[in-house]
Amino acid sequence: MLSKALLVMKITTFFLLIGVLQVSARGFGQDKLNLSFKNAEISGILINIEKQTHYRFLYNDQLRGIKRKVSIHVENAGIREALDYLFAQTELTYRFMANGLIVINEDINRQAVEKKVTGKVTDQNGSPLSGVTVTVKGTAKATITNEQGVFNISVENDDILVFSYVGFEPQELKVGDNTQISISLVSAAANLENVVVIGYGTVKKRDLTGAVVSLKGDEVKKVPAGNVMESVQGKVAGVDITRTSGGAGSSVNVTVRGNRSIIAQNTPLFIVDGIQYSNFQDINPNDIQSMEVLKDAASTAIYGSRGANGVIIITTKRGASGKIRVGANAYYGVTDDTGYPVPMNGQQYANLKREANRTAGTWKSSADDAGIFKADLAAVQNGVSTYWPGLLLKKGSQQDYGVNVAAGSEKTKVFFSFDYFKEKGLLANDYSSRYTLRLNIDQTIVGTFKVGLQSQLTWYDENRRTDNVLTVANKVIPYYTPYATDGSLIKFPGNANQINPLLEELPGTFVNKTNTTRILSSAYAEWKPFSSLTLRSNLGITNGSSRNGLFNGENSINRSTSTGSSAKVTNATQTDLIWENIITWQKKLADHSVDVTAVTSYISNKQDSSYAQGTGQLVPGQSFYALLNNPSNLAIWSNYIGSNLLSGAFRINYGYKGKYLLTVTGRADGSSVLTKDNRWSFFPSAAVAWRVIDEDFMASQHLLSDLKIRASYGIAGNAAVKPYSTNTGLILIPFSWNDQTMQAYGFDPQNGNRNLKWELTGTQNIGIDFGLLKNRISGSVDYYDSKTHDLLLLRPVPTSSGHARVVENVGKTRNNGIEVSLRSVNIQTKQLTWTTGLTYTRNKERITDLVNGINDIASGLFIGSPVKSFYDFQKRGIWQTADSTAAKSFGYKPGDIRVADLSGSKGEPDGKIDANYDRTIVGSAVPKYTIGFSNDVTFGNFDLNVYVFARIGQTFVSDYANKFEPNAIENGAAVNYWTPENPSNDYPRPNINVSRASLPFATTLGYKDGSFVKIRNITLGYTLPKTLTQKIHISSLRWYVSAKNYFTFSKVKDYDPEGEGSFERPLTKLIVTGLNLEF
């Protein structure tokens, strides 16, 4: 027996020597095998392998397994894969020796109790998954699938195998009698589509009873933007997102289902990994796993006094056991303004001045130019013209670089990331850099007890320009030049009153530097004593601290009318502490399923801030770093605000046969900002849903693939009562005796109100979710009606009482509307897919009651109109010469603005223009409807996204259109004004004796239709083929080019109406290119 073995060895050695000579040229390990045998002896198959490759086998042919008959079918397989497969049904093992020699032996230890299991792991589409961790549950025994997704492992029949892989749902499988296993894992993303995060828990999408929109990570980062909310603009029906400033690092306004509140903010509650965190701009979009928007009160009532403005839940990515995944992203882009109106040039301005003087009789022809232009005559005659805003507006840039790592073992899972984002604004020295670090850890301690930590650190380094630099640039007389003959900047060009706005671009002239650090960190402990019960405790701490240093040099705009420089440093810190305990109990009994959640919550919020300032320091270069060197106007200030909220909440989800669903929610909130009597409030809600598609009678039809009807009603609050509003405070009044500073305390004009309580919003919601043609078309339609009462209003009180105002719970608002979101898969072939997403939101917002049931004109609040409405005279044009008699009867003359005589003291037009009767709502800042329309096409390795956003029906006030100076005192808009020869209906006649302030009805010039349609995003991406990327050990590499906000269609020329009319910080468009990389 031994001799025979020796013989085989010898022969093999001989062949080996030859083999080495043969194969050295082609190298090892590249042989690919094709084996196809049915019921063949293993020894025979081994010979076949030796024929196909350079490998040689060495074994004792007395081994039991070597004669076993097996079937095998592998194509283009590696040697290890083939052998694994071949030996899986035996006790045989193999070992690679030098030079392609493979020694085969028998595993004596295992043969009695264990068996070998081999298998292949694929994804849903059947592609092999390499790097999947296969663990024997409860043991340390584990293996990893190879490049072909094949694994083998020794197990007992009772063992359970756990398959885990980053980005996929872990799966368990009992081995049983199987020796060959093929299993496909479900991607976590795909599975998450069916799981929706709701307050304090998750629910399967099919079981959802409220109006909740769920967006996945890919969707929230499609549009390159500094913050996630900007990226998802228009993608969530019912959420209105606008960016009104193009300044570096500027955020967006977010409202869910309209404005309910008047003095309170209407921004929704943001929950990040279970912790309330309003600074969504801190979050690296690449860290986001999913974002959920809770819209109806049934969904938000679990957040009680904070939920009425909607809740946006952001969940970040977590680690997973299995192969380490490394992702990297980078993009760089150039920004430019989306249009900026040009003020008058030198000639146009000179003409305005001539016309203005002509009206007053001080100019008849160019012979009078000297009299009106005086010292400027030469400049006018030279035809000099400076486009001042153009000197300030440059190109900006936006860039982002990030790396993230997801890894883990069976018990420890880690996700961490780094991101750097920088935006350079269109103005010099306007920039914002953000650094974000994240670390998420989950650790199983023992059994079903696990703990974890989410933490994020964000640091900003920002410098923002003055708020009025472009306003100044639009005023400066255009026939002046900024530079003296020696090239230096002139402080007051042409002796005018306007300071040269370019001065602030000089180093150190204007510094407004903010450094902000924010930490969002939360830890949890979770224990499942039984499979039906989960106990969880969350402790979250968010801490923000910022330092703003503001330095206005002598040549800055803000100090041009004061003496010396001014310097100021403001420090602010904010700390929230959140402790929440959550019990979840789930039980399924026959047709009944019950899911109960109970929550206790404690939230403490503390803010303090301080500043110090002074003026007139000796050396400007010390900026704001040496306040002590400021001799005058020294001032210091500090402040503290704190509040606590204590809550208990519950939710019961009940399902019968999975078809009839009921959710009942309640939350009790107790807050420190209210007095004892009003401190506690209760917020109930209920929702029902009927899964029609699951009814028997639906089984026979094939059109509908999903159908669910939902209805809910609930009450949520707005925690807008500011701390200390129940007390009447005192204010410190600066005062002195004999120039010695003295303390003086007078009453705050705002009176305290001990009866304050929460603003409450009751919302009813009816919704339908459907799918057609095997979900080729799917969507939701929701109708809602939310009524807010006990509205917090800053009510003016007669000042004869000694106070000016008080916050009271009076007034009501109502928002109702319809939301549609649709998704269709238009084409789906192997090469080409085309999907379309559409959202449509129509919200009708109006105030329904105010103090004493009457309009508050002073505050601009009108019953029946949206909160942000414009109330003014109705411009009908300009009084023309032919109508001079009619004009005169109203007290006007040709060339004046003509407004409508709408009514009078008797309720009908009375031939008088009167502020009481002739003003009306001329527009509102809220849109009638918004549409988001997104198309995704993938063709081979190319992907294309085109995304259109429309916001229709809103009005805005244009700074530019308003900038008409009839007396030509400063530069302004180039407009078509009335002259006797030019019977314009746009702008009135210039007149040297009429200032803008005294121009009748001047404010009517600014209102513009703000409707717009914009192609928000066009992205073309190309993913390198896997065959290429694998060579460089990269699993995926995508390159893309993106154009953001490049095309805007509106009725306004040269201006993006989304900016709402401001001269300052025009909105930007961006062309960007970037890479997404995965290892």
Binding site: K374, A375, N495, P529, F530, L535, S537, S560, T561, S562, T563, G564, T600, Y602, Y611, N633, L634, A635, S638, G642, N644, L646, G670, S671, S672, V673, P723, Y724, N727, T728, G729, I731, L732, I733, P734, F735, S736, W737, N738, D739, T741, M742, A744, Y745, G746, P749, P796, V797, P798, T799, S800, S801, G802, H803, A804, D856, A858, N993, A997, S998
Partner: protein, 563 residues
């Protein structure tokens, strides 16, 4: 067994949560370390001092402020609007309504806030444990003086509007209409209390003292036609408290001599501007310009006369071009005898930037100008056109400013009141001046006495008091020419004399109202306002915000004549 452990563990967990939760309940008590409430702050002497200090601060919204000038000097016979005026409603009565005149809101709101604070203090002072009886008397005297002072402005400006001596408790949404007599009854009562309890001197310049209260009482007596009392009280102040008229009228306006023997009571704006009332993030309810703004309001835009050779500087001031003299005011002065014309008005502006330029903008010939050369001259007389054109500087005589009807033909270049100019400001652009505002000075006492004597028919005595004022006002050597006799004394003469002495000092509107001359003299002397003024306009419209805010709208109504 395993199950029991689980149950125990859950119970323990729940217990921890509940216990921790219960201990949290006290967390619902509000903590406000950076805020102050009246109960805490005004509970002892030290805190109460801050209340009394604060009670003075509301005067700063009226004195030296545009809003104050607009209601006290404007809408009279002596001023009209420059092209920069923003409250032409008040200057000319052109569409004067409570809904469009924010100046009235500022004064209404703040004077009632002042009254509320005084009422609070007066009702609390008895309970301040660590005040001596004397301190209590003094401080209550000050508060009562201030309450009388505020109520006088309120009742004269708006008539019989809201009146109370008790601080409202909680939120008050109604207001009352109280007869004017009730206001004055309280004003007299408070002033008598003040005179009885105040000291006659103070080391804190600007605090109320006996002579301050007496001087104000003299004004009140005159206002209410109590002429004998007015004469007695004015004489008391003139004789007994060491006040004297400064030798030269012009010295009154010298920033270096601003705290002088003629001043009875002033709003003492601090030279440390941070002690004043400018709105800031720390003092959001302050005034948008702060300190004394009188220097801004009355100046012509000299920096637009000839930009090449005359630019804005500290000495010439920052010209807001709000108000210009009505022709009538200029005509009241005999500048050859009366020093008050040259001491009150700036008529010449000098080159502060050497250049070759068209100096006389009416003739357009270029010359070389040195610093100190005359650039602009404004005259109260009508000059010969050829003479004016022969000059190298630009002249604005009467014919180039006012039309034959007295209405200005242009409102930018004119003789400018310079009483309040302040060259100690840090820069030409600085809007805040530390100049004290004289609320009452000794000259007024003479004028009060004169007017009261006139009203009781003692023209000799009236002339006596007027001559004391006129003697001081005379250009040296012209004293005799300035003297008047009893036959010269008429009510109009007294009002003219007041204009010459006090123009710009925030009394004019009250003088005209008191003498029932408001409408007559406007119609006669101020053609801009004559077009609009109505007989009901001896009170101002109540701010519309007040009317809108009251819940008893049928009781608390707008003043008659206003919408």
């Amino acid at each position: 067994m395993k199950r029991n452990i689980h149950v125990h563990a859950i119970l323990l967990w729940l217990l921890t949560v509940v216990v921790a939760g219960a201990s949290c309940n006290k967390k619902l008590n509000e903590i406000n370390p950076s805020g102050l409430t009246s109960d805490v702050a005004y509970s002892n002497a030290k805190g109460f001092e801050t209340l009394v200090n604060a009670a003075y601060t509301y005067t700063r919204f009226w004195y030296g402020k545009e809003e104050g000038y607009s209601v006290s000097e404007m809408g009279t016979d002596i001023w009209t609007n420059g092209s920069g005026d923003v409250y032409t409603q008040l200057t000319r009565y052109d569409n004067l309504q409570g809904s469009n005149t924010s100046a009235l809101n500022l004064l209404w709101d703040n004077f009632y806030a002042g009254v509320f604070l005084c009422n609070t203090g007066i009702s609390k002072i008895a309970g301040i444990p660590d005040y001596t009886a004397a301190q209590k008397a003094t401080r209550e005297g000050e508060l009562r003086y201030l309450r009388a002072f505020y109520y006088w402005h309120i009742v004269e400006t708006w008539g019989g509007v809201h009146f109370t001596t008790k601080p409202a408790d909680g939120v008050e949404t109604t207001a009352n209409r109280t007869p004017v007599d009730t206001f004055y009854k309280q004003i007299f009562e408070d002033l008598q209390f003040a005179i009885k309890n105040l000291p006659d001197k103070t080391s804190d310049y600007g605090r109320a003292t006996i002579p301050v209260a007496k001087a104000f009482l003299a004004r009140m007596y005159l206002t209410r036609g109590m002429n004998e009392q007015a004469i007695a009280m004015a004489n008391d102040v003139i004789s007994n408290y060491g006040y004297t008229l400064l030798a030269k009228f012009g010295d009154l306006w010298n920033m270096g001599n601003i705290k002088n023997k003629e001043v009875i009571w002033a709003i003492d704006y601090s030279t440390n501007l941070t002690n004043n009332d400018l709105t800031s993030s720390a003092y959001p309810t302050g005034h948008s310009r702060g300190s004394n703004n009188g220097h801004l309001m009355f100046l012509q835009v000299y920096d637009q006369v000839n930009t090449s050779i005359l630019t804005r500087d500290i000495n010439n001031g920052r010209p807001f071009n709000r108000y210009m003299p009505a022709l009538s005011l200029l005509n009241m002065f005999n500048e050859s005898d009366d020093s008050r014309y040259q001491s009150s008005f700036q008529t010449v502006w000098y080159c502060n930037k050497a250049a070759r330029a068209v100096g006389n903008t009416f003739i357009k010939d270029s010359f070389d100008y040195k610093v100190g050369d005359t650039v602009c001259y404004a005259s109260k007389n009508t000059l010969n056109a050829a003479d004016m054109n022969a000059k190298r500087y630009t002249t604005y005589d009467i014919s180039r400013v006012y039309g034959s009807n007295g209405i200005p033909t242009q409102r930018k270049f004119y003789v400018s009141l310079k009483k309040f100019k302040d060259s100690t400001r840090a820069s030409a652009a600085e809007a805040q001046s530390a100049r004290d505002v004289f609320v009452m000075r000794l000259a007024e006492m003479y004028l009060i006495a004169a007017e009261a004597e006139f009203k009781i028919g003692k023209l000799d005595s009236a002339a006596y008091y007027l001559n004391l004022i006129r003697k001081r006002a005379a250009i040296p050597g012209h004293e005799a020419a300035m003297q008047i006799s009893s036959t010269d004394v008429t009510l109009d003469f007294i009002l003219d004399e007041r204009a010459r002495e006090l123009c710009g000092e925030q009394l004019r509107w009250f003088d005209l109202k008191r003498t029932n001359k408001l409408v007559d003299r406007i119609k006669a002397l101020n053609p801009d306002a004559a077009k609009y003024v109505q007989s009901y306009q001896t009170v101002r419209p109540i701010p519309q915000t007040q009317i809108d805010a009251v819940t008893n709208k049928t009781e608390f109504t707008q003043n008659q004549g206003y919408q």
